[in-house]
């Protein structure tokens, strides 16, 4: 396979096409524009369509329609645009439709600016729309991984009939890195017998999202809760480094996660007993490696994220008081530097071994 130097936004677009995505609906917004532009160029070449919607509200419902008709389809957006999709996200969850949504996040709230940020974490992982629901959330930390996760996002969406969010930031979207596209196999996935494409002599298909009968409504909620529990049990994904003997465990994802990886390696070279958990699925959140680390040597956790402190809640919930959890936050669209993380790691590693 040939290595290509492409932007993250282009890599996820091409990877989506390789995964069989035929329809893209979207509305331009920086720093995600290369996605819609790539799709406009490429999809017609593979017999697909890019439809430029008049807004993100419209995009997400076009997506709902195409997914309701059983097609692999996606949209891409950022910040404001993702907020406008929240009603639609709630509908997609209730309709149990497999779709992929890429959020190339920028600094918020409001227009904020275009610098990278992880400030949409709650929106990704807690369902920014109304009602009880979750989405798969996949968070790459580089261009190759972004490409790899696209196929997975479509597969998970199809398998569990749930929307999958690919959580990026401006740097990941705009950055060029070498990438090799990998083939994916969808043979194991269930056929979409529920899709509304015309009865064609068969039974009627209704893709709807209301349940007036309270008994059925409760049953449906219970089933959805059970499905979420099952996914939490089986679909956690993460990268880990040197957890076995780590006193301090850094938890960090995406762009911050790649800096954290370098910082942990650097700190290890300096003899500090530090490990890394880099969540790849933000939902389901990788509680398993945290639990494992706690049964091994972990005496403290350091969360590094590019926001006011959002993922830190998930880490605290997983740790549940069994060790201190520290937050290293970069705000205002800034990214952590390796030096700053190494310095903080050194301080905290000292602290946790003293207190232990």
């Amino acid at each position: 396979m040939q290595k290509l130097l492409v932007k993250g936004n282009e890599a996820i677009s091409e990877a989506a096409i390789q995964a069989g995505c035929k329809l893209f609906f979207g509305y331009p917004i920086t720093p995600s524009n290369e996605i819609i532009e790539y799709m406009a160029r490429r999809l017609p070449e593979v017999g697909g369509h890019m439809v430029q919607a008049e807004s993100e509200v419209s995009s997400i419902y076009m997506l709902l329609g195409a997914a309701g008709a059983g097609e692999r389809c996606m949209t891409g957006t950022s910040g404001c645009g993702f907020s406008l999709m929240q009603e639609g996200m709630s509908f997609l969850a209730a309709y149990e439709l497999p779709v992929v949504i890429v959020d190339v996040a920028r600094l918020g709230p409001a227009l904020g600016n275009l610098d990278p940020s992880q400030g949409d974490y709650f929106q990704w992982t807690r369902g920014g729309g109304h009602g009880d629901y979750y989405n798969f959330v996949l968070a790459p930390s580089g261009v190759q991984e972004a490409a790899d996760l696209m196929g997975l996002a479509f597969d998970l969406a199809d398998q569990y009939r749930m929307p999958a969010v690919v959580a990026m930031d401006g740097v990941l979207g705009q950055m060029m890195e070498p990438v090799t596209f990998r083939q994916t196999d969808t043979a194991h996935l269930p056929p979409k017998t529920w899709a509304a494409r015309g009865k064609k002599g068969g039974p009627k298909h209704d893709v709807v999202g209301y349940i007036l009968d309270p008994v059925k409504a409760e049953r449906s909620d219970i089933q959805r809760a059970a499905r979420y529990d099952q996914i939490r049990a089986t679909e956690q994904r993460w990268e880990e480094i040197a957890l076995d003997d780590a006193d301090l465990v850094v938890v960090s994802f995406g762009t911050a996660g790649r800096v954290a990886r370098a910082a942990v390696r650097e700190a290890r070279q300096q003899g500090i007993k530090v490990g890394l958990i880099r969540p790849i699925t933000l939902w389901p959140f990788p509680t398993n490696p945290i639990a494992t680390a706690l049964t091994q040597n972990a005496k403290g956790f350091m969360v590094a994220e590019m926001n006011m402190g959002q993922m830190v809640e998930d880490v605290r919930l997983a740790v549940n008081g069994r060790a201190p959890v520290y937050l290293h936050r970069n705000m205002g669209g800034s990214m952590p530097t390796t030096e700053e993380l190494v310095a903080r790691i050194r301080t905290l590693a000292g602290e946790v071994s003293v207190h232990a």
């Binding site: 705009q174 790649r258 910082a263 390796t338």
Partner: protein
């Protein structure tokens, strides 16, 4: 080996292309590379910059926020980015447009009159390639062979006629660089 570079200048000076060629050459040499443009409204109003990292090891921090190498194609860029260059780093200065700016003394300064050189060489539009040539002797992550291949792969089919001019400009830059700064 890790070379973190920041390339900055006016829009239209070919800064982005220069960066892409560097990153591409790095990839051809099987290095880890990142290239990141400045994007968004900064693009209006005439200045542009990008970040390139070429490295033997996996790249953590993707942006060269504290670069080892700065290419300043105009005065604004020099003033803006000079302070963040790492001690011991190199600053390439487009001396056709920049003069009289006080320079740090803990870095190597390479002045290249790229506009003048490009004009004399008959490729006035290829100032970025002249600069690229001038950088070559100082770079550890890429060599001239890979750079030329990268230039070839990055000139779009529709502009193949400009390829020779570009390569000539690189050569001009390489020669100029040997003149001590």
């Amino acid at each position: 080996m890790m070379e973190r570079m920041r390339l900055a200048g006016f829009g239209g000076q070919g800064i982005m292309f220069l960066g892409k060629v560097l990153a591409h050459a790095g990839m051809l040499g099987n290095k880890h590379v990142t290239w990141i443009p400045s994007y968004g409204p900064e693009m209006r109003g005439g200045t542009a910059n990008c970040s390139v990292i070429i490295s033997d090891v996996e790249i953590g921090e993707p942006v060269a926020s504290r670069p080892d190498i700065l290419v300043a194609m105009n005065e604004v860029s020099l003033r803006k980015f000079q302070p963040v260059v790492r001690p011991g780093g190199i600053i390439f200065v487009n001396s056709s447009l920049i003069s009289g700016v006080p320079m740090r003394d803990d870095v190597t300064v390479v002045t290249v009159p790229v506009n003048d050189l490009a004009r004399s060489a008959g490729v006035p539009g290829a100032i970025n390639m002249v600069m690229l040539g001038a950088m070559l002797p100082y770079l550890k992550g890429v060599d001239r062979h890979l750079i030329e291949e990268a230039v070839r792969e990055n000139v779009p089919a529709s502009r193949q006629h400009m390829l020779d001019g570009n390569l000539a400009a690189v050569a001009v830059g390489v020669d100029a660089a040997h003149v001590p700064a």
